[in-house]
Symmetry: C2
Subunit: 205 residues, 2 copies
């Protein structure tokens, strides 16, 4: 397997006029999301880029390197949330709300990249490594949920593991339907998710 | 394309001792879910069944027929919910809760089949037809959500389209983590989803 660490730190290298590695990556991620990573060949990628198969190799050594770059972009955004002051100090309930809002913001801002991350099957080492990092992120959020419950902010009649699963389920599903630039802003979307999850949909009497 | 209607109504035909069409289907759905439908060949299926590639054709004419049978099982379960009295009479709020609970019950009872349905990419006619039926189901549930809002049961500050997306996101994500036979029963799971979605996670003061 080629070294993927090198390609994430190497400066952007131009192959053909009109494409740099970043624009190749964006198109590749879109193709992966439409056809599935496994079903996408370098030939299909070349076709979508409108360049020859050999020209792709000017930009990136392999399909796996494109995947690695894309997943690093998704995971890097998520992992950075947990380092912010809003995630590290204050009441657990407020830290949890901060992390969920920021997760939605990253998800919307890096939508195709997070979509790719969430659809991984784990057939290759690159995928398994990314799933491991995703699990570590989820585990830290689960810790915040337990802490918010322990401090009495969250209801006691639902197992915190179920709460974690349902909250991630709600948030992660956003990649399946959200259209950036439409009438629903990322901020209103985050408000709606927080409102439904914490206060519920029932009209208050 | 072979006729898929015939295979859904034909009586179960035994090919080799130890396998009938239903057990071939169960294993095939499991393989589709693990590797992705596109990435699964009849050869991979044969390997998982421990039979020869030609022996598979005793049970089913093509990979597409297995997909069609599996998706019919998932969609048939969901569509039947909307015909039940709990879905057709009473206040919209109660009908909505009934439909969501039953959706969770079908999802858990037919877990691998619904998982397959929810992961479809829509690359073939069989997939596109199933996605069309799924959209029709979702559309009817969206109608119930709007009706519950109009009758004043649901809060007015979230667009009913967003409510629909978030509720389905929460429920559909269950296929990604729920383990039947564990400590969380399907009934408690449904209670938890309804509680979070309608009453919220915050402890009541």
């Amino acid at each position: 397997m080629p070294s993927t660490a090198a390609s994430t730190t190497a400066p952007t290298k131009r192959g053909r006029p009109g494409y740099d590695q970043q624009s190749v990556l964006l198109i590749a991620v879109d193709v992966f999301n439409r056809h599935g990573y496994d079903a996408t060949s370098m030939g299909i990628l070349a076709e979508n880029l409108g360049i020859s198969k050999s020209a792709i190799y000017h930009h990136v050594p392999s399909k796996g390197d494109l995947l690695k770059l894309a997943l690093d972009h998704a995971l890097g955004g998520l992992e950075a949330i947990l380092e912010e002051p809003g995630a590290t100090s204050g009441a657990a309930d407020a830290r949890l709300e901060f992390v969920l809002r920021q997760t939605i913001a990253v998800l919307v801002d890096r939508l195709p990249f997070v979509t790719l991350l969430l659809r991984l099957r784990g057939n290759t080492d690159i995928e398994r490594n990314a799933l491991e990092r995703r699990r570590a992120f989820d585990h830290k959020v689960a810790g915040l949920i337990s802490a918010a419950r322990d401090e009495g902010s969250l209801r006691q009649d639902i197992d915190p593991r179920t709460v974690t699963r349902l909250l991630f389920g709600t948030i992660n599903s956003i990649v399946e339907w959200y259209k950036p630039g439409g009438s629903l802003s990322p901020e209103k979307l985050a408000d709606d998710v927080i409102t439904m999850a914490f206060d519920g949909l029932h009209a208050k009497p």
